[in-house]
């Protein structure tokens, strides 16, 4: 597994050419995701998690300008022609949406929505597509699957709809699954079932999964690695255990405040930090977190900190991690 990672993102930027000033929702994100790996994306609301995730499939409105480099399964996503891009969505990367209630077409039968994807990508007939849909419905454990294929989305409960959404996302055997808060719209007991299902499918199919969550307990349980986002940048990445037990960035420390060393229970939401995130149309020059940071130094408001390694595989964008003066002198 020394080959290039399945997902390799370098210097990703996303600008929204809005009415007045362009908003830089994502400003220089680096990410990798290996085959079979699960990465959790954490961060406050508005930090750019959804935009980052959608940029991987170029699933953003026309007003968005995407820059940098995005490679998924060897393809340069940002350079793909529209038909190549469409051919990739489904068999290579697919997405589980946050709210299945609005992400499924309300006037199409669920079985047909899945069959449509199979027909589109594999040139299958409608009956072959429906057969695949049935297989998937059974796989995601929808009771009386055959009958449910003819249901419209509004005829199912939220949990069942999310199962159908997962079935749809898996219909063309993707290598990478993106899940944007796949359980936030559901109630607590259903959330756990859906997460267990996702983890089980991920292991069986060897999927690479990137998912957004606000729930640290879930992140710890499901993910191999955690990436923490703040104001359009990833400020800290590392293995789940390290990030939770020894957070390096003051922002991560704030999020996990008073929790360090303690085992996270499922359902435990991230803490809050006084102050509010910067205006993305007018980002501060240095570290975006500096204005809210208790340990900020003069340099923090001047230069953007680069990534420093705390230990192999665990990096954070904070000058406090900079090795002592030796580097400065050189």
């Amino acid at each position: 597994m020394s080959a290039a990672p399945l997902v390799d993102v370098k210097g990703l930027t996303v600008d929204f050419a809005g009415s007045a000033k362009p908003v830089r929702a994502v400003s220089g994100v680096d990410l990798t995701l290996a085959k079979g790996e699960v990465l959790a994306l954490l961060g406050e609301s508005g930090s750019g998690k959804t935009v980052t995730m959608r940029a991987l499939m170029r699933l953003l409105p026309k007003s968005a300008r995407i820059g940098g480099q995005v490679r998924v399964a060897g393809r340069d996503v940002l350079a793909l022609a529209p038909d190549e891009l469409a051919a990739m969505r489904g068999p290579v990367v697919s997405m589980v949406f946050q709210e299945p209630g609005i992400a499924l077409d309300p006037v199409y039968r669920l079985g047909d929505q899945i069959a449509e994807a199979v027909m589109r990508h594999e040139g299958a007939s409608r009956s072959q597509g429906r057969a695949r849909a049935l297989e998937l419905f059974e796989r995601v454990r929808i009771p009386s699957a055959a009958r449910r294929l003819d249901n419209y989305p509004h005829e199912m409960s939220g949990g069942m709809r999310q199962r159908a959404m997962i079935a749809l996302a898996l219909s063309c055997h993707p290598k990478v699954l993106l899940a944007d808060e796949p359980t936030t719209a559901l109630d607590a007991t259903v959330q756990i079932q859906i997460l267990l299902l996702l983890r089980e499918l991920q292991r069986e199919l060897g999927l690479a999964v990137m998912f957004v969550t606000h729930d640290i307990g879930v992140a710890v349980e499901v993910a191999d690695r955690i990436a923490v986002m703040y104001a359009g940048r990833i400020v800290e990445t590392g293995s789940c255990a390290r990030v939770v037990q020894a957070p390096q960035h003051p922002y991560t420390q704030g999020l996990l405040a008073s929790r360090a060393g303690h085992v996270f229970a499922k359902g435990e939401r991230l803490g809050t930090i006084p102050g509010s995130p910067p205006d993305l149309a007018n980002p501060p020059p240095g570290c975006a977190f500096a204005p809210r940071c208790k340990v900020a130094e003069a340099i923090c408001t001047k230069d953007l900190p680069r990534e420093y390694q705390a230990e192999p595989g665990h990096v954070a964008r904070c000058v406090r991690l900079a090795p002592a003066p030796a580097t400065v002198a050189a």
């Binding site: 051919a87 489904g90 697919s94 609005i102 992400a103 077409d105 006037v107 449509e116 589109r120 419209y152």
Partner: protein
């Protein structure tokens, strides 16, 4: 579904009876004696009484209504005071003429309206949108009788391509589906189509814009559908509403075409109503209004049923 239709029919019955009562009373609330229009002003009292008895006007109102209603459900709408012909056959012919004209106009309007609406909705705020929206705003705001006259001036008076008035060359007033008659329907149908075109195009534009902004369109793209694939879903989502609007527009045209039919002397219900009013031909007026009102009731029913059949989200309760 059958049960749903039966249920709707039951709900509609009191409305229909109410409408018939209003139509019946129409004759009795209009000022003046209904017979005064056809009786010579110097008619003897005896003759007046005789006529009144002949038309049944001497009986109490509820009895008159019951008798009238009994005749109506047997297809007898009385006799026109002006022509002496049965009202039912006059109205029947007018209805079929109006029906042909309105359907043609609605189909033309629907075709262009959905086309402009989809273009405008898909290319929101581009010059295409402005062009298509401009045309439809023009369609709703231009007075159609004026447009009718302009078309007649250009295509009949100046160019001499199309006949200016009437429904056919023989002047008998009946439209038939052949080439010669087709020439007569073109100008009135185009004039009339401008209204549904404007309304449908504006509705479809809003509808398409709304659908394209929904999350499920992103999800369709996320499963690899191209523009054509997404378009099919947009059409399926827009269809129930667009068809309902089309149905209501058709109903509106079937009832409200007095001006256009008069401008083009098209022998339809509007033309007939106009004649009945000016000649104070009350049985004819009553029959025409009754038929039109019943038609509206039926149309609403049909639109409801069709929309329910097309849109799985509507509960068939």
């Amino acid at each position: 579904m059958l049960i749903y239709i039966l249920k709707r029919l039951v709900y509609v019955t009191p409305v229909a009876i109410g409408v018939s009562i209003v139509c019946f009373l129409l004759v009795h609330i209009t000022p003046g004696d209904p017979l005064s229009a056809i009786l010579p002003s110097d008619a003897t009292l005896e003759l007046q009484e005789q006529m009144r008895a002949a038309y049944g006007f001497d009986k109490p109102l509820p009895v008159q209504y019951a008798l009238w209603f009994w005749k109506v459900i047997h297809g007898d709408l009385g006799t026109s005071l002006a022509t002496g012909r049965p009202v039912a056959s006059e109205v029947g012919r007018a209805v079929s003429n109006t029906f042909i004209l309105s359907t043609t106009a609605t189909l033309i309007g629907f075709t262009f309206g959905t086309f402009f609406g989809f273009v405008a909705g898909y290319f929101r705020d581009s010059w295409l949108d402005k062009l298509a929206s401009g045309i439809s705003v023009l369609g709703v705001s231009v007075p159609h009788y004026w447009l009718g006259m302009v078309l007649v001036i250009i295509f009949s008076a100046q160019l001499g391509w199309l006949p200016p008035t009437g429904a056919g060359p023989d002047g008998s007033g009946g439209w038939r589906p052949d080439l010669e008659h087709l020439r007569y329907i073109i100008l009135p149908a185009i004039t009339m189509s401008v209204i549904p075109m404007g309304v449908i195009s504006r509705t479809v534009r809003a509808l398409v814009g709304d659908i394209l902004n929904q999350e499920f369109v992103q999800a369709l793209r996320a499963k690899g559908l191209g523009e054509y694939g997404v378009f099919k879903h947009v059409v399926t989502n827009a269809a129930p509403t667009a068809l309902a609007i089309m149905g209501l527009q058709l109903g509106y045209l079937l009832g409200g075409s007095i001006l256009i039919e008069t401008v083009f002397s098209w022998p339809g219900t509007g033309f007939l109503l106009n004649a009945a009013i000016f000649q104070r031909d009350l049985p004819l007026l009553q029959g025409t209004i009754l038929v039109l009102a019943m038609f509206f009731v039926a149309l609403n029913l049909i639109v409801d049923v069709v929309q329910t059949a097309l849109d799985p989200r509507i509960q068939r309760g």
